[in-house]
Amino acid sequence: MSKTSKHTAMLGLPYYAWAIVFIIVPLFMVVYYGLTDKTGAFTLANIMAIAHPAHSKALWTSLVLSLESTAVCLLLAYPLCMILARSGKSSNSFLVLFLIVPMWMNFLLRTYAWQSILEKTGIINTFLTALHLPTQHLINTKGGIILGMVYDFLPFMILPIYNALAKIDKNVIHAAHDLGANDLQTFLRIILPLSMPGVISGITMVFIPGMTTFVISSLLGGGKILLIGNVIEQEFTLAYDWNMGSGLSLVLLVFIIINIVIQMLTDKDGEGVM
């Protein structure tokens, strides 16, 4: 190895050190606190606490709501990406910008704004009343939380699917048509399979934030619907029980690790999640 390439290799050291101290070590802290009690003795009680009815109910609600909003995101995003990827005009950077721009309005405020759209005297119900239709109960429901999740996480579904679709060689599609495939056959046998890595990436990117959020449920669920994120947040900021909070976080980590494994298996070119 020449002298300059040794110097080059050293440029990475600050980041590697950073990653060890602020990415790896903190995760081990969660494991340590999760597996010990207040005196520091080993215990599984913090993890077993997930079996407590209130906790397991919160975990189940989180799973269901997150799965439902992931499905809605997929159903909304896929047609959009098909339209954008095949129009040819819109470039990737335009789409990224379109999705990033809303983030300059604070995330909590954007979610909070849905309150004024959904609430009893909100925009939707005012509209319904004007049309002499019965008002709907929208806020503080599971549906409200799902809407918030879809709104906040839709960009994470759109980007990977768009990237996968845009990458498909047009000639492959032309070839399918030339060989006599109709639009539906081309879609089912060419486009859909080739876009699967993007779809799976999108699903993993939406599912975890949805399952672990505590903000959306407290803004749009009216504090009545507890998600596992709310339980963990309260253990840390209200009960000051770091061991219990860490134990429940370890349960979440199991889901996250499954998610990462799925992501890695499908992302064979190692291009990362974007």
Binding site: G12, I83, P102, M105, G245
Partner: protein
């Protein structure tokens, strides 16, 4: 069919942007209650300038976004340069670790960093939040910069060295301009993520330091002050205008360069 497609794209657009339009309108609403239009006013914008606690939160948020993005760009870009010379296996390990903050749940990242700061007894405040933001920003920089290196022609850098340039000079003259678009988009993403973050900040800040996000969260239960709507509208428009200006300048420079050639 074409009309249907346009309608669908438009629908998603409305879905994504209607809360923003609503907040914008709200910031000019004389009535404090959200449901009623009490007439047009600029009073929230005026009162904003006197509200020391909001301005303090704004200062913290902007300082955090700028500092964390800048530090993440330097550390992340340097790491990308170093990784070019790395064995594929080692590089995969580093990239795997880099992906952790992006794939991990924000609540776990926040809790983990909180436990770290508590254990090593650093008092939580601006400093700890900055460390946390740099940590989740570096991956955005790396994932934006790395692909640029794949398109880079290494022979140009070597040619510069053969012609007598020092490695540092050759890097700034041949490599940096080529990877600059990646660095730029990485910096923009890092800035945006920092500005928009609530969860990780929530766990890593102390009682003394508020960002806009934590301030908004603490106000939600009692009702958000209209001044916050005014401020958020100002931030939104400012960032938008800045980005358009940067794009314009970039476009002009590119054209001038093309014409010069």
């Amino acid at each position: 069919m074409k009309a249907l497609k346009r309608f669908y794209v438009g629908l998603i657009f409305v879905f994504m942007y209607s809360p923003i339009v609503l907040l914008f309108i709200q910031s000019f609403n004389q009535s404090k209650s959200r449901g009623h239009w009490g007439g047009f006013t600029l009073q929230w914008y005026a009162q904003l300038l006197d509200d020391e606690s909001i301005l303090e939160a704004l200062r913290n948020s902007i300082l955090l976004a700028v500092l964390s993005a800048a530090i993440a760009v330097v550390l992340g870009t340097a790491a990308c340069v170093a990784m070019q010379k790395m064995k594929a296996k080692n590089r995969a390990v580093v990239m795997g670790i880099t992906n952790i903050p992006m794939l991990n749940a924000d609540i776990v990242t926040g809790v983990a960093l909180m436990l770290l700061f508590l254990t090593i007894r650093i008092e939580r405040g601006f400093g700890t939040v900055l460390l946390a933001h740099i940590t989740f920003n570096i991956p955005y920089v790396i994932l934006n910069v790395m692909p640029r290196f794949r398109e880079l022609n290494p022979h140009i850098y070597e040619a510069a060295l053969d012609l007598g340039a020092t490695p540092v000079y050759a890097f700034f003259k041949t490599v940096l301009p080529e990877i600059m678009p990646g660095v730029g988009s990485g910096a923009l993403m890092a800035f945006t993520m920092s500005l928009d973050d609530f969860i990780i900040t929530h766990f890593t800040t102390g009682s003394g330091t508020q960002t806009l996000s934590t301030k908004i969260y603490s106000e939600v239960k009692m009702g958000i002050k209209p001044e916050i709507y005014a401020l958020s509208s100002v931030i939104f428009v400012t960032v938008l205008v800045l980005l358009i200006l940067v794009n314009r300048v970039q476009y002009r420079l590119d054209r001038q360069r093309l014409e010069a050639e």
